[in-house]
């Protein structure tokens, strides 16, 4: 594989026929990436940058017949209860997610409302002014080494613009726009919810997604304007060879609301801390997060809530489940700035561990610079309570069902926030995970 060079950046930009300012931005980001050191905190990152294929032009997804799909994958889909159309798409039988009827009518509705829902590359071509106004403003390439890398070589991702006062009635699913193989290694997602609008976006799925690469460095920027509301749900269940290093950030203005629902079950190492900058008065931010670390996995997740406006509110509820020698770590920041009068933050992070080998830790930082702030933080790390399991088994539940009931109770706060289509599949998914615990 070629090393990342300026020539590769030129090649990517020319191939996509991008405007000059984007090429300039990519080159600046490249310089920063090369200069910036690897983070000296968090999980060990043994990434061989020379092994990475920096840019592969999108090609039609390879097709295969349903008979060619391995039996175990079919069984997995059946047990989770994924709809047939989605099964075929995930298994590579269908080139495009078979949602033409649903998406066709949704597309018409979105267009009539002025909603833009495109892949990021197309959006740059068709809505350059809008793109220029927001791209990199919330996560500049100087933010961290992987944000710099993403800015230098980004490709794919979603672009959503919701005009003033428009309430999108159906959740926008990344599936609706995927027509090519894979979702991209360096995705860039940009969401702008204009004043008083509402939108829900879903990415990922409960099915395990095989990635052909070892590094996924994505950036998500969300602008939630005055009185708007955005909910962003992620269910990540990638293969266990992937380093998943993602920067997600939302700027929340007056009376607006941002909700992150973030579930991480796959990948080798995840470093992801969805954040909210509560800029406007009465802005609200929330994150409901669940991490599952199995053997060989390190889930380093958390959040940042920066209270800038007055009367701002934040809620952080994170749950972690550790299996075998899996490691979970919560890393968070709550900052109440001097002008954030009467701001309230509630943080709760709990970990539940199976067996003696799994590990968990928390590193929450709380910075309070205003005397009227109210900050509540609680954390606990404990093992599955054997007495609860014994009680349930004495009432006739088999060990797996008993375990599943205890864990279901533990994750209720998160599952109830999942979109309905995820929640149904998630119960089956969780039971399968517990079988191996």
């Amino acid at each position: 594989m070629p090393k990342l060079t300026k020539e590769i950046i030129y090649k990517i930009s020319r191939y996509k026929n991008e405007p000059e300012w984007m090429l300039k931005r990519r080159l600046e980001a490249y310089e920063h990436f090369m200069e910036r050191k690897m983070p000296d905190w968090g999980p060990p990152l043994n990434i061989d940058f020379d092994e990475i294929n920096w840019f592969k032009p999108v090609v039609p997804r390879p097709r295969r017949s349903w008979d060619q799909v391995p039996k175990e994958i079919k069984e997995y889909f059946e047990r989770i209860g994924i709809p047939k159309a989605e099964q075929e798409f995930l298994a590579g039988v269908k080139v495009q997610f078979d949602s033409s009827v649903v998406y066709g009518s949704l597309k018409e509705l979105l267009e009539s409302q002025g909603v833009i829902f495109l892949d990021t590359d197309t959006a740059l071509k068709e809505h350059e002014e809008l793109f220029y106004e927001y791209f990199g403003k919330l996560v500049p390439y100087t933010d961290n080494k992987f944000a710099a890398l993403n800015t230098a070589v980004w490709s794919g991702g979603s672009f959503i613009y919701v005009p003033k006062g428009v309430k999108v009635s159906m959740p926008l699913h990344a599936f609706f726009r995927i027509s090519r193989y894979g979702t991209g290694q360096f995705e860039r997602t940009l969401i702008i919810a204009d004043e008083g609008s509402e939108v829900e976006y879903i990415e990922g799925c409960t099915a395990p997604l095989e990635k052909l690469y070892s590094l996924h460095a994505a950036v998500v920027e969300i602008f939630v304007k005055r009185g708007a509301s955005v909910k962003y749900s992620t269910l990540q269940n990638w293969s266990k060879n992937v380093y998943n290093l993602v920067t997600k950030r939302a700027l929340v203005e007056e009376d607006a609301q941002m909700v992150w629902v973030d579930i991480n079950a796959g990948s080798k190492v995840t470093m992801k801390y969805p954040s909210c900058i509560l800029k406007g008065d009465r802005a609200k931010g929330a994150i409901y997060s669940l991490s599952i670390a199995d053997s060989g996995q390190f889930q380093d997740t958390g959040t940042k809530m920066i209270h800038v406006g007055k009367h701002t509110r934040s809620v952080v509820i994170t749950k972690a489940i550790g299996k075998k020698d899996g490691i979970n770590n919560y890393r968070g920041l709550i900052e109440i700035t001097p002008n954030a009068e009467d701001s309230v933050s509630n943080v709760s992070c709990d970990a539940l561990l199976f067996g003696d080998c799994s590990k968990a830790g928390t590193i929450p930082v709380n910075r309070i610079k205003n005397k009227t702030a109210k900050v509540y933080h609680e954390a606990s790390i404990s093992r599955v309570d054997d007495t609860k399991l014994f009680y349930l088994q004495s009432r006739g539940f088999d060990p797996l069902k008993a375990k599943s009931m205890v864990v279901s109770g533990f994750v209720t706060d998160i599952v109830t926030r999942l979109p309905i289509e995820f929640a149904r599949e998630f119960d089956a998914f969780l039971e399968m995970q517990l079988k191996e615990a």
């Binding site: 550790g322 490691i327 770590n329 001097p338 561990l353 199976f354 067996g355 003696d356 080998c357 799994s358 590990k359 968990a360 830790g361 928390t362 590193i363 929450p364 930082v365 709380n366 910075r367 309070i368 610079k369 205003n370 005397k371 009227t372 702030a373 109210k374 900050v375 509540y376 933080h377 609680e378 954390a379 606990s380 790390i381 404990s382 093992r383």
Partner: protein, 190 residues
């Protein structure tokens, strides 16, 4: 919720008559380890100097399986700046420690406080509970890092932290009973 727990602590504090046994944190400036031997230790930190910038790092070494409790009271005012850490370092299996930290910050004081539990590889069972209550006035600021190092599954860890402001009604009540602002603040934030 925070205040209720706080009052329970005070009752406990009085019932044990521990003020007489209290140790001033300034006694530990040149030491960084403290052997936790009694069931209940009380540390108090209060400096009269208006301006200072101090660091205090205290390792709480636990060498038995008794149920230990430590209460820490910190009071900062003026331009006082304190950076401190309380690290539980259990040396035995089935250890048990609860640390309650209460701090009142006034004027332009600053407190940076870190708590953690760090164990040797051979320690696989135990219980650590850190509870922190902070009361902030004026332009004081606070940074807390209630860390749990990544530990094995057998070690149960709990942490709670509350930053709150005084209830104006309680302050008003005391004022009507003749307490000035300073006295009522002290009473309510004990």
């Amino acid at each position: 919720m925070g205040k209720e727990q706080y009052m329970i602590t005070i009752k406990h504090f009085k019932s044990k008559n521990l003020i007489a046994n209290a140790l001033n944190l300034t006694d530990f400036e040149n030491k960084n380890t403290f052997k936790v031997t009694q069931k209940h230790h009380v540390f108090i930190f209060k400096e009269e100097t208006d301006v200072f910038d101090k660091e205090l790092s205290l390792d709480l070494v636990i060498s038995d399986t008794a149920e230990h409790r430590i209460d820490v009271y910190l009071y900062l005012s003026g331009h006082q700046k304190l950076t401190c850490s309380f690290i539980a370092r259990p040396k035995v299996n089935s250890f048990f420690i609860e640390v309650y930290i209460k701090a009142v910050l006034e004027e332009e004081s600053y407190l940076n406080i870190k708590t953690d539990t760090i164990v040797d590889e051979n320690i696989t069972k135990g219980y650590a509970n850190f509870q922190e209550r902070f009361l902030i006035f004026d332009k004081a600021s606070l940074e807390t890092i209630p860390e749990f190092s990544i530990l094995p599954a057998g070690i149960e860890q709990i942490h709670g932290m509350v930053v709150y402001s005084l209830d104006d009604k309680q302050g008003y009540y005391l004022a009507t009973r003749g307490f000035d602002k300073t006295a009522s603040t002290r009473l309510l934030s004990l």
